[in-house]
């Protein structure tokens, strides 16, 4: 095989691009889980965001409008989840699965007319001075707006959870909804807000795939990215900084295996294509074997105020 065909500058740059959608979805889901809710519908919200974002971008010739529309679509779908789990007290696992299945159906229905089309994509945002640096400039500082936005989002979530009162309340609700309720906090409202935030983030992540990374619409194009985002939250032990590390790690594996395939490595193609999923499993095993998960104590439990 010919490893010299792999350009390290392009490699790092493409790792950032392939990590961004997972990062967006994962940081959103982390906030949801911090509030004590397990939404397994990330994949469904991502793919819906992907198709809605694509359609809106094509329709308006503006990728920015596409991203906004995708965030709204993801949030709208997550509201269904919020309604079912927070008001109708349905099982979160089943509802999340249902959301994924419905999202996949909805997206292929909406996406039919858009197959094979091209969309406008986001312009590169060259950061002044930094992007002119040799090597590092093109590697790190010559990306589109969403790459930076995703990083800002991680930072914002980190600061929100660490320094703000609202962040403390969110953690408290996820830790013990009975106690939070007894102190007079509106458990359901806080959780719905977190769920909607997570939905919007997943929508953005999906749109990044269809508008920047590919950029095209094909059925089922998220290909498990939403599930990997869920795994990354576990991997990160519910910490924002580690979510970023996790997303870039998986972005790296994905890009590397594509590069190896292109370079004609003497490894079965099936194994290379499956490697992001296999790596996810291996990482999950390592994390769980180490114990000490730090999962929010009320994660996945329904809350119903009884008096």
């Amino acid at each position: 095989m010919d490893l010299s065909s792999i350009n390290p500058v392009l490699l790092v740059a493409s790792i950032m691009i392939s990590a961004t959608p997972i990062l967006l979805a994962a940081i959103g889901e982390m906030v949801v889980e911090k509030s004590g809710v397990l939404n397994l519908g990330v994949e469904g919200m991502m793919i819906t965001g992907a198709v809605v974002g694509f359609a809106a971008a094509v329709g308006t010739s503006s990728p920015e409008v596409g991203f906004v529309a995708a965030a709204v679509a993801g949030a709208a779908l997550s509201l269904v989840f919020a309604l079912l789990t927070q008001v109708f007290l349905s099982n979160q696992v089943a509802t999340g699965l249902g959301l994924t299945l419905a999202g996949l159906g909805l997206s292929s229905l909406l996406g039919k007319p858009y197959e094979g089309m091209k969309s406008p994509t986001l312009p590169k945002l060259d950061i002044p001075v930094l992007s002119d640096l040799p090597v590092v400039g093109r590697m790190l500082f010559s990306h589109d707006m969403m790459v930076y936005l995703s990083m800002v989002l991680v930072l914002a979530v980190w600061a929100f959870l660490k320094f703000t009162r609202a962040g403390l309340i969110l953690k408290a609700v996820g830790e013990s909804h009975e106690s939070a309720h007894a102190l007079g906090y509106k458990v359901v409202r806080i959780r719905v807000a977190a769920i909607v935030f997570g939905g919007a983030c997943a929508g953005l992540g999906g749109a990044y795939i269809s508008l920047v990374r590919v950029p095209q619409w094909t059925e089922g194009m998220t290909a498990g990215a939403g599930w990997i985002a869920l795994a990354i939250v576990v991997f990160a032990s519910w910490r924002a900084g580690r979510v970023m590390i996790g997303a870039y790690l998986f972005g790296g594996v994905t890009v590397l295996q594509l590069n190896l395939q292109a370079a004609g490595a003497k490894v079965p193609v099936a194994l290379l294509s499956a490697s992001p999923y296999l790596v996810t499993i291996i990482v999950l095993v390592i994390i769980s074997a180490r114990g000490a998960h730090a999962a929010p104590a009320s994660l996945g439990r329904s809350f119903h105020a009884t008096r």
Binding site: R165, S179, A180, A182, R307
Partner: protein, 507 residues
């Protein structure tokens, strides 16, 4: 009305099927400790939840300092100067003391100022507490301090305390009472909820007694005997258990050097526990909640296994066996948590009878369940232990606490155990049911079984047990015959004899 802080008039609250509070009226004066006395289910909790804004009354009014008081939510109550320490703490295990305190305040100061304030207040009231500690690592007594300090930082005019001493050692109770008296001296009123008569007589200025949702009387506890208070609280007389003369037989249960690591992050490890129980004898094990009671029960039931030689049932080493084998040999248990541990909430009583009785009552045949037999056994328990339920097909969660507890204890007793271990057999159970359960335990001992009663209710332990030991941080104290013990001694045993919080308090 000048010397009334909070006045309740005709408060009524009904839930489907029960009237929790029926036309309750009384006044709380500034700077008094006012007891709210009643049995479990008398309506104490509902009443304080109305005062704290968690529940809205159907009828009646409240006035605070002469002005109408209608808190829509706890936040409003706190703003009006009403604070509450819950019986089941509203704390967050994974967060620090300071974060927990901040969550209970309307406008918490900056973290650094808050930490200082916590230290100041905790020193001023003799309740030492480190703001940076994670709450999950604190003892029950320390956790209560977090709750109290959270309230005190808001300078409440009325502090509500719901069964505060149920998790404390006698020495810790003394510290708490000092704190409460200090608060009273400073002009804070305290609404003190309890069913412990002696406490109320020692601490409170006034007592209001509730029975079945209605106010029975308001009186001065110092001028009333404990017996009179008890009669007002319970209303009807009930059988107090009678010990029967029992013959002590051979050793049936022997625990030798039992040590087990803590289960999970916030559990208690068991450290080198040893004791023996003879046939016909009841061993009482006391201790403050969270000192290894659950862990000890799990180690005896077989839910957690130890070295084979750590637990002996008569001549058999059972430490390494699982629950099924131990049960087959005659070692039966009834854990504290009725719903979810001793019984599955959504399964019927028949299914719950099958849960532990499958083998001893021969309820299976080649793996297939003999549902008819299981149902008969469930009916037998219901009849023998007077379990009030529509039928054996009813889900466990539909039963009241007392009835389910009778069912759980009955299920084990009717299997004729050689050794029975029970944890908190009468917790949250009405007095009549509690008396029935204690009597059943005494009868079982009289018939030659060895019994271990783990409980946080000292009165109960003194009543039923022959010998007494206490758990402290997973260690078992030396065991003494009950007749020889004084309350002080018991307190020292529960406090672990060496490191005592008393030292801090008196210093």
């Amino acid at each position: 009305m000048g010397d009334t802080l909070l006045s309740l008039k005709g408060l009524t609250k009904a839930y489907p099927g029960v009237v929790a509070n029926d036309d309750v009226s009384f006044d709380i004066r500034p700077g008094e400790i006012h007891a709210l006395l009643g049995e479990n289910g008398a309506g104490k909790s509902t009443l304080v939840k109305m005062i704290y804004g968690l529940v809205k009354p159907d009828q009646g009014q409240m006035t605070l300092k002469g002005a109408p008081y209608t808190p829509a939510e706890p936040r409003a109550a706190r703003a009006a100067g009403v604070a509450m320490v819950f019986q089941h703490f509203s704390l967050f295990d994974a967060l620090t003391v300071a974060e927990n305190v901040a969550l209970g305040m309307e406008n918490p100061p900056k973290p650094r100022d808050l930490a200082r304030q916590i230290r100041d207040v905790s020193e001023a009231y003799g309740l030492p507490l480190e703001p940076g500690r994670v709450v999950g690592t604190l003892s029950a007594g320390e956790r209560q301090r977090v709750e109290i300090i959270r309230c005190l930082l808001q300078n409440p005019r009325l502090l509500i305390m719901d069964e505060p001493t149920s998790v404390l050692t006698p020495q810790e109770v003394d510290i708490l009472f000092q704190t409460l008296r200090q608060l009273r001296a400073e002009g804070t009123s305290i609404l003190y909820i309890s069913h412990k008569l002696e406490e109320i007589r020692a601490l409170c200025d006034t007592a209001t007694i509730l029975r079945l949702g209605k106010k029975v009387a308001t009186c001065t506890p110092a001028d009333t005997t404990a017996r009179e208070l008890a009669e007002m609280m319970v209303g009807a007389s009930f059988n107090t258990p009678e010990p029967k003369p029992r013959d002590k037989g051979a050793v049936l249960l022997q625990v030798e050097g039992l040590s087990l690591a803590a289960p999970g992050n916030f559990g208690t490890p068991l450290r080198d526990i040893s004791f023996q129980v003879h046939a016909g004898e009841i061993l009482g094990i006391g201790g403050v909640a969270g000192n290894g009671q659950d862990e000890l029960l799990a180690a005896l039931s077989g839910e957690r296994r130890s070295m084979a030689q750590s637990v002996w049932l008569a001549e058999t080493a059972v430490g390494a066996m699982g629950p099924v084998k131990r049960r087959a040999l005659g070692l039966l248990c009834a854990p504290e948590e009725r719903l979810g541990h001793a019984a599955a909430p959504d399964l019927s009583l028949t299914e719950n009878a099958f849960l532990t009785a499958a083998k001893r009552q021969d309820l299976t045949k080649r793996g297939l369940i003999r549902w008819g037999e299981a149902r008969n056994f469930a009916d037998k328990i219901i009849k023998a232990f007077d379990v009030r339920t529509p039928s054996a097909a009813t889900a466990a969660r539909a039963l009241s606490g007392g009835n389910l507890q009778k069912f759980v204890i009955g299920r084990e007793i009717l299997q004729r155990p050689r050794v029975l271990v029970v944890n908190q057999p009468t917790w949250g159970v009405d007095a009549a049911a509690a008396a029935a359960i204690r009597q059943a335990l005494l009868d079982l001992a009289a018939s030659g079984a060895a019994i271990v009663v783990i409980s946080q209710d000292l009165d109960e332990l003194m009543e039923v047990s022959d010998r007494f030991g206490a758990l402290n941080e997973g260690r078992l104290s030396v065991i003494h015959p009950v007749e020889t013990l004084t309350l002080d001694q018991i307190g020292l045993m529960m406090g672990g004899a060496h490191d005592m919080e008393v030292a801090h308090a008196h210093a």
